[in-house]
C-alpha cells in the first residue's frame, strides 16, 4: 500500500511540474502574440484620426475642391447628388453667391438655380465638409464614360457590337452615324479612321460614350461616341 502511495505521489508531483511549465509557455506565447495586434489597432485609430484631421484642415484651407454626380433631389436651396462612387453629397447653393453655368456641348452659358433639374449631371466646386459642399459654383455638364473590352459579336444588320468588358460582363455598343472608329497600326502605333465593317470579333476596343439619361437604354447598352481598336494581331506578336 505504502509503495503504491509513494509511486502515485511522485508521479503527480512531476506531472504538475511539467503542466505548469507547459501552461506558462503557452500563456507567454499568447501574450506575446496579443501585443502586436493591440499595437496595430492603436496605430490604425491614430492613423484614422490623423487622416480625419488632415481632411478637415484641407477642407478649411482649400476652396478648390470639386465633386461631380447626378442630381437625385432638389429641395429649397439644396441639391442631393449621387457620385459615380455611389456616395451622396448635399450641395448648398447660396442665392446670388453661387455661380451656375451650363457646359453642355462644350459651350459655357450662365444659368439659374431653377434651370437645374433632377437627373442633371453636375460638377460642384467649393469647400467640402462631411459630405456637404457649400457651392461656389455649379456646372451642368455632359457625362462621358470610358469602357473597354473584347468584341464577341458584330451585328451588321442593326449596327451594334457585343463586348465582354473589363469587368467580364457583356455590354451592347451601338454604332451611330456620329461614331468615329479608329484602328491602331501595331507597327507605328498611329491610329487611322476605319469603317464599321473593318471591325473583327476578337479585337480589343476602348470606347468613349456619353451617358444619356433621356433614353430608355439600360446601363449595359450605350451609343459609342468614339472607339479605338487594338487589332487582335497585336496580342499575337
Amino acid at each position: 500500500m505504502k509503495k503504491i502511495l509513494t509511486i502515485t505521489i511522485t508521479f503527480l508531483i512531476i506531472l504538475s511540474l511539467v503542466y505548469s511549465v507547459v501552461a506558462q509557455t503557452e500563456e507567454a506565447t499568447s501574450s506575446a502574440e496579443a501585443s502586436p495586434s493591440a499595437k496595430v489597432e492603436v496605430d490604425e485609430t491614430v492613423k484614422e484620426f490623423k487622416e480625419r484631421v488632415a481632411k478637415l484642415a484641407e477642407a478649411g484651407r482649400s476652396e478648390q475642391q470639386a465633386q461631380s454626380g447626378r442630381v437625385t433631389l432638389i429641395k429649397d436651396n439644396t441639391l442631393t447628388v449621387l457620385t459615380n462612387d455611389n456616395e451622396t453629397y448635399k450641395i448648398v447653393v447660396e442665392k446670388d453667391m453661387t455661380m451656375i453655368y451650363s457646359l453642355v456641348n462644350g459651350v459655357k452659358k450662365e444659368k439659374e438655380f431653377g434651370d437645374i433639374v433632377k437627373g442633371d449631371y453636375i460638377i460642384v466646386n467649393g469647400p467640402i465638409m462631411d459630405k456637404t459642399i457649400n457651392a461656389n459654383s455649379v456646372y451642368i455638364d455632359d457625362q462621358y464614360k470610358l469602357q473597354s473590352g473584347k468584341v464577341t459579336e458584330i451585328n451588321k444588320e442593326d449596327y451594334y457590337l457585343n463586348i465582354l468588358n473589363s469587368d467580364k460582363e457583356n455590354d451592347l455598343v451601338d454604332i451611330e452615324t456620329y461614331t468615329k472608329i479608329f484602328l491602331i497600326n501595331i507597327k507605328t502605333l498611329e491610329s487611322e479612321r476605319i469603317g464599321f465593317t473593318k471591325l473583327k470579333v476578337g479585337d480589343t476596343i476602348h470606347i468613349v460614350y456619353k451617358q444619356d439619361n433621356t433614353t430608355d437604354k439600360s446601363e449595359k447598352r450605350y451609343s459609342a461616341t468614339r472607339i479605338l481598336v487594338i487589332p487582335q494581331e497585336y496580342f499575337l506578336q
Binding site: K3, A66, L228, Y234
Partner: protein
C-alpha cells in the same frame, strides 16, 4: 530507507518522466504549427516572383484625381512597365505611346468641364497583365 520505498520512488520518477516526455512531444507540433502560421502569413505578404522584377505597377504621379485646373491641357506623368503600349483616352483625345523607360509623360488636351481620363497599359511581354487607372480632371475656367 527501505528497499521497497526506493524502488517505488524510482518507478514514480520513471512514470512521471515518461508522461512528461509524452506531453512535451505532443505540445511541440502545436507550437511549431503556430509558428508556421505566422511564418506563412508573413510569407504570403506581397513578394515578387522572379519575373516580377521586370513589372512596374502603373502609377500616376500627376495630376491627382479630381484636380481642378484653369488650363486647357494637363501633363500626365507616371510609371509603367518598360516598353508598354500606353493608351491615354478621354472624351477629348486618344494618345498612344510606347514608353522606353519606366517613367512616361504626356500632354493631354482638356475639354471644358469634367475630363475622365483613362490610362491603359499593355506591356510588350504579353504574359504581364494589362493595367489601367482612371482619373477625373476638372477644367473650370472662371
Amino acid at each position: 530507507m527501505k528497499k521497497e520505498t526506493i524502488v517505488a520512488l524510482i518507478l514514480g520518477i520513471g512514470f512521471g518522466l515518461i508522461v512528461a516526455i509524452l506531453m512535451i512531444v505532443r505540445t511541440r507540433p502545436q507550437t511549431s504549427q503556430n509558428s508556421n502560421t505566422i511564418t506563412n502569413s508573413v510569407s504570403n505578404a506581397p513578394t515578387k516572383p522572379v519575373n516580377q522584377s521586370l513589372v512596374t505597377n502603373l502609377e500616376i504621379t500627376s495630376p491627382k484625381d479630381k484636380t481642378i485646373t484653369k488650363s486647357n491641357s494637363v501633363t500626365i506623368s507616371g510609371k509603367a512597365t518598360k516598353n508598354s503600349m500606353i493608351i491615354i483616352q478621354s472624351a477629348a483625345k486618344d494618345i498612344i505611346i510606347k514608353n522606353k523607360e519606366i517613367n512616361f509623360k504626356v500632354d493631354m488636351p482638356l475639354t471644358l468641364g469634367e475630363n475622365v481620363i483613362q490610362i491603359n497599359v499593355y506591356p510588350d511581354d504579353k504574359n504581364i497583365p494589362y493595367q489601367n487607372k482612371q482619373l477625373q480632371v476638372y477644367y473650370l475656367e472662371e
